[in-house]
Amino acid sequence: MTHDAPQVLVEDVLLDGRIRLEDLIDRDGLDELCRSFHALFGIPVRIYSTDGALLADAAGEQELCAYVNTTSEGRKACASVVGAVRACDPGETGDVVHPCFTGATYRILAIEYDGRRVGRLIVGPFLPNNLNDPPPSLYAIDPAIAPERAKSLLPKMPRAKAETVTRIAAHLKAVLDLILFSGHKAHVTSTMHLASVRESYRQLEEKTGRLQEAFDRLKELDRLKSNFLATVSHELRTPLTSIIGYSEMLAEGLAGELRPEQQEFVKTIHEKGEQLLSLIMGLLDLSKLESGTMRMAMRTARMEAVLREVVSTLTPTARKKGVHLELDLEAGLGEMRGDPERLRQVFLNLVENAIKFTPASGSVTLRTRMVAEEAADGEEEGLSLLAPTRSHLEVRVEDTGIGIPPRERAKVFDPFYQVDSSSTREYGGTGLGLSIVKRLVEAHSGDIRIEDNPPRGTTFVVSLPQVTPTVTEAPRVTG
């Protein structure tokens, strides 16, 4: 079995164990937050990442510190304290105090998210509430530090109770936790969004691939079917020609006079042979049209002649059935590029079909008209270039027969399709005719559609393009 595991792990999306303060929080925003805390409580605040980078700083230099830094030993001692504070680990409890020789203290607190340390918060320096005078440790640093000066600067340092600092730090940590959570959630949402889209895309691609394979296989099968049909029809035709030929010779008495009954039998053999031949020819045509190997003898065709011939061929059939067959030609039909033989086949088939499905005393009308395709102004691109070439010859075959329900209209052009399989018995036919007609029309760059013929019946509309209208000669100007 092959497994299609998604390429993204939700644990990765969640940054499990890899969350960094600096990745989820906007630096400038963090700086602003610290400054506002400083402004509110007067206590310096700094935030460091787990690897010791300073992320936000709201701690101006205290005057006492500035003074101490003017002495050389003071400067060294100060740097050492600041370095120690910066490197100080908040320990198991996550909260440690670091003293300064000035008597002030620093608090170093762990910033945690999801139970893991993501940074450090350093609060201070601030003075414990009970310290009023600088401790001896300050004067011991450097003799140059003047006690009066130090004493006057000490009260300028912020002063806070340890519990107050604990509460302030807890509050700051809670705010940070909320910001981290929001940042984390936004990160997860956007990453999951991308991951879901990728996963859907991957699945779709797989499905498309499988469909494409199936489609290619079907196309190949279809090609094989067409080849098979072409070969089989060809092979069937050869012996059939002999059957038809010999039955014809028998009927003509070339092998001796036949009794009337024998004559009738031979005639049936001949008729059925012809029927079978036309079916085989139909199959052959269809397979050629499907495989695109049908050769069209394209030349200038006069539609009027084609249609007149169709009507004269089928008039006896119509008369025999009591159906009125009429030809209504528009003047100036002109000529077109096409294979007259194939066009004749198209209309013979359509008219024959119409007669077949029209009851006695009904009518079948073959009507033509030129249609200029007119797009509404401004609706089609390049109208000024395309419009003059767009004209179609429309041939309508209207009957007053049983009609075709709208939902069946697209299917009647499928090979072997019959609207009602019981009608096969009533009306006969192989179900090949219309599929051949459609393909022949399409081979002439035309199209065929079915419309109602109110109040009753069907109209097959064949639309053929690129008709050259008969040029009526301009009146000669004599002068």
């Binding site: 079995m1 595991a5 644990e11 969640l14 999801d114 139970g115 999951m192 699945q203």
Partner: protein, 251 residues
């Protein structure tokens, strides 16, 4: 399951699966409300504005091993991190469900007890099976428990019916009304118990953490602020076998 020896952490992933609107998120919200801070983290819900889960919900729980064995050995304690996820139930989120399900150590299937939802439950269970198959897993290998939620509604499948079905099935079954907090802890601890038993049998986790095998679930309950006995919660199971060591996966 993920083991991080350096960080001394074990990560377990539990997934609440089930049809749309069966109460997966409600289970998590109730669990969040019924437990105390400290061990449980913030509930992350990623949902649309009409409260439908979009990607997943996630509730992290962190337990520090404090068993007698751990204390004896005096080592730095191990941390057990349990993450509970819900999947989006709506049919269209199929790919997200698969992403969330990947790597699950145990699944709670939250079914809707309403009679009208019976088919949706079945379809979602088949979806679970299909997704597991595509991830190379099977229901046989995975600890799964079933919760029949929404017992407080009318027109639900009867207790007798669920009881009879549960006795025939292999998955432990719990009844719940998550919106009222009923059956939520039972379901969670049932799943944790089943998953832990399975993972411990395979990886000897108890030894790694330094607790007795049977000590972990009660320890987790204590750290979540529960005062009662976990075994009474587990006793709410109406069917299946909660104590089975699921079939061992061939190595």
């Amino acid at each position: 399951m993920q083991i991080n020896f350096g960080g001394r952490e074990i990560g377990i992933k539990l997934v609440y699966y089930g049809p749309a609107l069966s109460g997966k998120t409600t289970n998590l919200r109730s669990l969040h409300q019924m437990t105390t801070e400290g061990s449980r983290g913030r509930l992350m819900t990623l949902e649309t504005k009409d409260d439908r889960t979009l990607f997943f919900d996630m509730l992290p729980l962190t337990f520090r091993a404090a068993g007698s064995a751990a204390r004896r050995e005096g080592e730095r304690s191990m941390t057990l991190r349990v993450k509970i996820f819900t999947v989006p139930g709506q049919v269209l989120h199929a790919s997200t469900r698969r992403l969330v399900l990947q790597g699950a150590d145990g699944v709670a299937f939250i079914a809707d007890s309403q009679i009208s939802e019976t088919e949706h439950n079945a379809a979602s269970f088949l979806d679970l099976r299909q997704n597991l198959a595509e991830l190379g897993l099977s229901l046989k290998q995975l600890p799964v428990i079933i919760q029949f939620n929404k017992r407080d509604l009318d027109r639900v499948r009867s207790d007798d019916e669920i009881g009879a079905l549960a006795r025939r099935g292999r998955e432990p079954v719990f009844k719940a009304s998550a919106v009222n907090g009923q059956g939520v802890l039972e379901t969670f601890f049932g799943l944790l118990h089943l998953t832990w038993t399975r993972l411990d049998a395979e990886h000897q986790l108890a030894k790694m953490i330094g607790v007795e095998s049977t000590e972990l679930v009660p320890m987790a309950a204590r750290q979540l602020g529960l005062t009662g006995d976990v075994s009474t919660l587990l006793a709410a199971c109406v069917g299946g076998n909660l104590d089975r060591h699921t079939t061992k996966v061939p190595a």
